[in-house]
């Protein structure tokens, strides 16, 4: 039993090694065979043929982070709400309607408290 178990890992390891060997052999063969005549332009950053703008390291305004975070939270909430609304009637027919409606209201209230907190911390103001 345990031998079979480890035999599976031997298979996985063999596939992994074969994959590594394939890449190494293919790249080495290509390096041996191919002609290389690089010119200055080849070492430039590929930017659709125009001059690269700025450097590789750039920074984004940190304020976007809070907005992105709030957006994701309320986006998930709406994604959650729509399927909830479609099945609410089904659950109501089974007698659980009020219970899951209260659960959803609790969930939305929690998010609303978070929004109030964000408002209090003044992250909703841009400047």
């Amino acid at each position: 039993m345990s031998n079979d178990y480890f035999a599976d890992y031997v298979t996985v390891g063999s596939v992994f090694l074969a994959g590594v060997a394939f890449v190494v052999v293919a790249f080495t063969a290509a390096m041996l065979v191919r002609p290389t005549r690089p010119r200055r332009e080849k070492y430039l950053t590929y930017e659709c043929g125009i001059d690269p703008v700025g450097v590789g390291w750039s920074q984004t305004q940190i304020r976007y982070y809070v907005f992105a975070f709030l957006f994701v939270i309320f986006d998930i909430e709406s994604v959650f709400l729509f399927p909830f609304a479609t099945v609410l009637r089904t659950f109501d027919a089974a007698g659980d309607g009020v219970a899951i409606l209260v659960e959803m209201v609790i969930f939305i209230l929690l998010l609303a408290v978070g929004l109030l907190y964000a408002w209090k911390k003044k992250v909703l103001e841009w400047v």
Binding site: V33, R34, P35, R37, R39, R40, K42, Y43, C48, I50
Partner: protein, 167 residues
């Protein structure tokens, strides 16, 4: 590195290498004008140059073997064509597709149009027409494949310097 351009490889090996090269042409479409639409038509189901081993829409010049310059090359665009050609890996091939790319075409006396893409990069095959039909591009590709099958990389690269300073 690179053996096939430094020594004359034996004919059987050269045959295999050239055969592999000619049927796996990743193509970089430099679509500049209406000829690009004919190029796209050639890549679609009706004419379908993938059956000849031409793989369209390479991610960028660094992954491409063949550049098809299809359309009017303006003087303003010329440096970009030159730079993207230089960024392709060797061995690289160029098809000049349509009258504008061949010689300026109907804009031969315009103040802003280059008189053919061969003024800035070496061209392997010229496809005439304004615009050429997709069949013409298919014939151009077959011409290029014949050329690749019969070429020697040592001869092709004998004129070019081995090393150029890194930028």
């Amino acid at each position: 590195m690179g053996l096939s351009d430094k020594v004359e490889v034996p004919p059987p090996i050269r045959f295999v290498l050239n055969w592999g090269r000619k049927y796996s042409l990743w193509v970089f479409n430099f679509g500049l004008a209406c000829c690009a639409i004919e190029f796209i038509a050639t890549s679609m189901a009706e004419h379908d140059f993938i059956r000849m081993g031409v793989i369209p829409f390479a991610h960028g010049p660094r992954q491409a073997d063949l550049m098809v310059v299809s359309g009017t090359l303006t003087d303003k665009m010329a440096p970009a064509v030159k730079r993207l050609y230089e960024q392709m890996p060797e061995p690289k091939y160029v098809i000049s597709f349509g009258s504008c790319a061949n010689c300026g075409g109907p804009y031969w006396d315009s103040y802003s149009v280059a008189k053919g893409v061969d003024q800035i990069i070496p061209v392997d095959v010229y496809v005439p027409g304004c615009p050429p039909r997709p069949e013409a591009l298919l014939q151009g590709i077959i011409k290029l494949q014949t050329k690749i099958q019969n070429e020697s990389l040592k001869q092709r690269y004998s004129a070019e310097p081995l090393t150029v300073e890194a930028g």
